[in-house]
Amino acid sequence: MKKPLFLLSILLSSYLSFSQTDKTIDSTAVFVLDKMSDIIGDLTSVTFDINTSVDKVSASNNLIKSYSKTTVTFSGPDKLLVRTDGSRGQSGFWYDGEYFTYYNYDENNYVTLEAPDTTLEMIDQMHLDFDFTFPAADFFYPNFTDDVLEHFNTIKFLGKKTLDNEECYHILASNDNIDVQIWVSNKTYLLPKHFVITYKKESNRQYESTFSNWSLNPDVPDRVFHFLTPPTAKLINILKKS
């Protein structure tokens, strides 16, 4: 009888010690992230470019890098347009609050699906069901800082750094699996400038993105977010992930 109790106490103690894991959180870093999140949350529309490089671990354990350039436009809570051109081809997402369309320019085929009512719910659902990825979408969640605080044990402010002639706040968030470095621009507006994600347990592969050409609160016509089918494009089916 004593043995199970002993095991139970070990389990309980390990659980308690886990829940009391040390966290190193720099208030300056959190302030910068909060400020950036506030500015993004204040936008009614936004357009920006994002240049991304993604490492993929090959079967022979080599890192293969691919590049892409994406132009993203948000408008209100229920409009999104994403155009991507890169080494994996050219594609686009259109979301008008009712329908989501993925169009592959190279294959000239597209998928149209009924979508949730808001952009962020749509992003969640499309990622969960079909593995669609939306570059840098995390920055546009209203509780971005809370997400960072929840998922990382260490959040440090590494000082001011100049990046591409812009003064930036350099922030590091780290946990056992991932290091995220974020450079937040201090040029007029606190907006993300650059970030690098390092997957420490996957051959240190990296996901790296640079933001540019921010246009804040542009007046974007709603019809832009409505997918107009090219004459010869083909509607195809899609397989749900699970």
Partner: protein, 356 residues
């Protein structure tokens, strides 16, 4: 004594309300300081929290009335944050709600409130069913030797249901014996194995010549040379009879006959000369109308597709389906990967394996 206390409380409450009415902007300022982006950022919550008018503010004159302009809505409803962040405590904060979701729900946002207009054509969403590669459970040959000499179409019996759709039972894939050098394409817990690289080309049904009838093709009568092929369904134990003529299989309907896909296990004495030879695991099969035939002493028998087989064209009845980053052509449980061989567009049968 108790009544006296209540009176004092009431008096204090009235005084506070009076002060609040005199200084509304002060209260608003306090709320904004503590409220975070949700209060400032707008969205649905902004219009609720903002007073309809603030006469004590000098900036009000320059700002248009909120009731007259179209409310601008934030792209994410405004930032939100937990109100208490104690950075002096280096231990893990426990006051934050944790859910299994990796991302927050954003239900505090004003939605359009309009019903979804469903007049736009949308894609079919496919669900991955259990992988049956290499799992032989198809059809049995009803009468291997007797049917070949049966001629005529006037004795059609039984099932009159028209089936112009792809019959999943006839589309399972046998696993290939060759090891795959290429890593599979992984999606949704399955690995999609191919010997050749993905090379997209649009799916256009192949036409096998003048005697070929695509699936769903209707004919009123069949020639007297048509034969009846009897197949017993293992699952239902029911006998199904097909009419075979020149590489085409037909099911009888009330008005005539409709072309369907070849049933696995069907044995026929001959196949059209347009049938193409395809290499399947170091042996030769014949491919015609989307069906694979093995030759034996009595003729040809319809066999399941084998993973890794390369075919030059696909019949009608397939559907292009996006699986992650690739687009395959699907016939029931068979996926064909578009490839290119010596500059020619072809397809390779994909082997789908559940990943551990």
């Amino acid at each position: 004594m108790t009544a006296h206390k209540i009176n004092i409380k009431h008096t204090l409450g009235l005084i506070l309300i009076f002060i609040a009415l005199i200084f509304p902007s002060d209260l608003l300022a306090q709320r904004m300081r503590g409220g975070g982006g949700g209060m400032r950022g707008g969205g649905g919550s902004r219009s609720v929290s903002r007073p309809t008018h603030t006469p004590s503010r000098s900036k009000q004159a320059a700002r248009p009335s909120t009731s007259q302009r179209t409310p601008k809505r934030s792209i994410n409803g405004g930032s939100t944050k937990t109100k208490s962040r104690d950075f002096s405590n280096k231990k893990k904060t426990t006051n934050r709600s944790t859910t299994n979701k990796t991302r927050p729900n954003t239900n505090n946002r004003a939605t359009t409130g309009q019903g979804k207009v469903t007049n736009r054509k949308t894609s079919n969403v496919k669900n991955k069913t259990t992988n049956r590669a290499g799992n032989k459970s198809g059809n049995k040959i009803g009468n291997k030797t007797g049917n070949n000499n049966r001629v005529g179409n006037n004795t059609r019996i039984g099932n009159n249901n028209v089936n112009i759709n792809v019959n999943n039972r006839n589309t399972y894939v046998r696993g290939g014996s060759r090891a795959y050098v290429r890593p599979p394409y992984r999606y949704g817990g399955f690995g999609y194995y191919c010997h050749r690289p993905y090379f997209y080309h649009p799916y256009t049904p192949f036409y096998w010549g003048p005697v070929y009838h695509p699936w769903g093709f209707f004919v009123a009568t069949l020639a007297t040379t048509a034969i009846i092929v009897s197949i017993t369904n293992d699952d239902t134990n029911e006998k199904e009879e097909y009419n075979y003529e020149n590489g085409n299989y037909y099911l009888k309907t009330e008005d005539g006959f409709v072309a369907v896909q070849a049933p696995i296990g069907a044995e026929v004495p001959e196949i059209p000369k347009e049938a193409q030879k395809v290499e399947v695991d170091n042996s030769t099969n014949y491919y015609y109308g989307g069906a694979f035939y093995e030759e034996n002493k009595d003729g040809y028998i319809v066999v399941p597709a084998t993973a890794g087989t390369i075919v030059p064209g696909l019949p009608e009845g397939g559907e292009e389906v996006k699986i992650g980053d690739v687009t395959y052509v699907q016939f029931g449980q068979t996926y064909y990967q578009p490839i290119q061989v010596d500059g020619k567009d072809m397809y390779e049968i994909v082997e789908v394996k559940q990943e551990g």
